[in-house]
Every structure is written in structure tokens, then in C-alpha cells.
């Protein structure tokens, strides 16, 4: 059962444009929503994360928008650059007492930013 659905599967954006990736979740116990960036041959690296007590979080050119009632969240990359070309994964986790958080990942979006 896919608990985190991600779209689109692939995205092509011109340099300077806005990239938008969307995710939806089902488990209402999820309370931590990170985004990871993965380059070919590398492991995923944390980009930005949000908790459901805020509707938006911005770090540089990266913004997460969160809609708790719709159980959706999205990543916006402003002024997209060719160096942003990578695969992006949304993820979600729920707190477990006495245990570290286990992440459930979306299926990924391959972003290509054209020069």
C-alpha cells in the first residue's frame, strides 16, 4: 500500500522557472514531512522539512507548502537552475515512542532544468 503518493513522475523546467512537485499522504499519524534530493549514484540528502503546525516553510529557493486538511504537501523550487537537476523524494514519518523515525518515501520526481 503506497502511503505517500508523489507527482509528477518527471518534470522539465526552463532555467529560472518554478518547479513544483506534489505529494499526498494517507496516514493521519504522520507529523514530519521532509524532502530529499538525490543525484545519480548518490544517496538521498535532506533538503528541507516541515511539521504540520505550519503551512509553509522557506529555505532559500526551496519552499514547502503544507495543507493538513487535504493531507497534501508540495515542494516549490524558485529560480530553478541546471544544478537542481536531480530526483526529488517526498517522505513522511510518525513519531514512535522510544524509537527513531522511520521514513515512508514517495516514488520520486526526476527534475530536469534546461539551461
Amino acid at each position: 500500500q503506497q502511503q505517500v503518493k508523489q507527482s509528477p513522475q518527471s518534470l522539465i523546467v526552463q532555467k529560472g522557472g518554478i518547479s513544483i512537485i506534489n505529494c499526498a499522504y494517507e496516514n493521519t499519524a504522520f507529523d514530519y514531512f521532509p524532502w530529499y534530493q538525490q543525484f545519480p549514484g548518490k544517496g538521498p540528502a535532506l533538503l528541507i522539512a516541515i511539521r504540520p503546525d505550519v503551512s509553509e516553510k522557506k529555505e532559500g529557493r526551496f519552499t514547502i507548502s503544507f495543507n493538513k486538511s487535504a493531507k497534501q504537501f508540495s515542494l516549490h523550487i524558485m529560480d530553478s537552475q541546471p544544478g537542481d537537476s536531480a530526483t526529488y523524494f517526498c517522505a513522511a514519518s510518525a513519531a514512535v515512542s522510544g524509537s527513531a523515525r522511520q521514513l515512508t518515501f514517495g516514488s520520486g520526481t526526476q527534475l530536469t532544468v534546461l539551461p
Binding site: A45, F89, A100, T104, S107
Partner: protein, 114 residues
């Protein structure tokens, strides 16, 4: 400082062979996770250690998969009698045992079963 180190980077095994994949987490990280990433997919949880204790192995796909972390540091993921469907990238990640402590991933081991 050093990140999470995984070895080997690539492993080719014939169907039926046993393989062992190694993970060296960041020093001092209590929590260690193994994930399986199929081609074009997101990582999927396999198992979780807190120090040497394996607290969750619910993601291991079959009893051919076994993981250990005997001294609470280095971990090994072992796959017995490999099958073609085991072909994937196996990712190891570690973190501090603190609320919302970020996961740090290694670059993975790409396993190809022929």
C-alpha cells in the same frame, strides 16, 4: 567529518549466491536504517537498529534477508540465496537518537543478481 560509508559500491552475484553488504554509520549515531531502492523508485524501509538492538525488521522481504549490528556501530545486511528480484540499491542511513534528527544516507550498494 566522514559520512555514512557503504561497501562494496557494486556487487554482482549469480542467482543462489549469498552476499554481505556493509555499512559504517557516522560515528556516534545511535540509529541505523537499511532501505532498498528499486530502479526508478523511492527507498523502501527494510530494518532499523538502535545501537545493537534490531527494533524493527518488518520491512525485510523474506527470511533470506538478515541484518546485524553486533557492537552498535558497523552493520551488515546479508542476503542468502539471492534472487533476481533482489537486484536493487541498498541504502544505509544513520541518525542521532533525537526527535526529528535528520537521516544521513550513504551512497548505497548496487546489487545485480544475474
Amino acid at each position: 567529518g566522514a559520512g555514512v560509508s557503504q561497501s562494496p559500491r557494486y556487487k554482482v552475484a549469480k542467482r543462489g549466491q549469498d552476499v554481505a553488504l556493509r555499512c559504517d554509520p557516522i560515528s556516534g549515531h545511535v540509529s541505523l536504517f537499511w532501505y532498498q531502492q528499486a530502479l526508478g523508485q523511492g527507498p523502501e524501509f527494510l530494518t532499523y537498529f538502535q545501537n545493537e538492538a534490531q527494533l524493527d525488521k518488518s520491512g525485510l522481504p523474506s527470511d533470506r534477508f538478515f541484518a546485524e549490528r553486533p557492537e552498535g556501530s558497523v552493520s551488515t545486511l546479508k542476503i542468502q540465496r539471492t534472487q533476481q528480484e533482489d537486484s536493487a540499491v541498498y541504502l544505509c542511513a544513520s541518525s542521532h537518537h533525537r526527535e526529528a534528527s535528520p537521516l544521513h544516507f550513504g551512497n548505497g550498494t548496487r546489487l545485480t543478481v544475474t
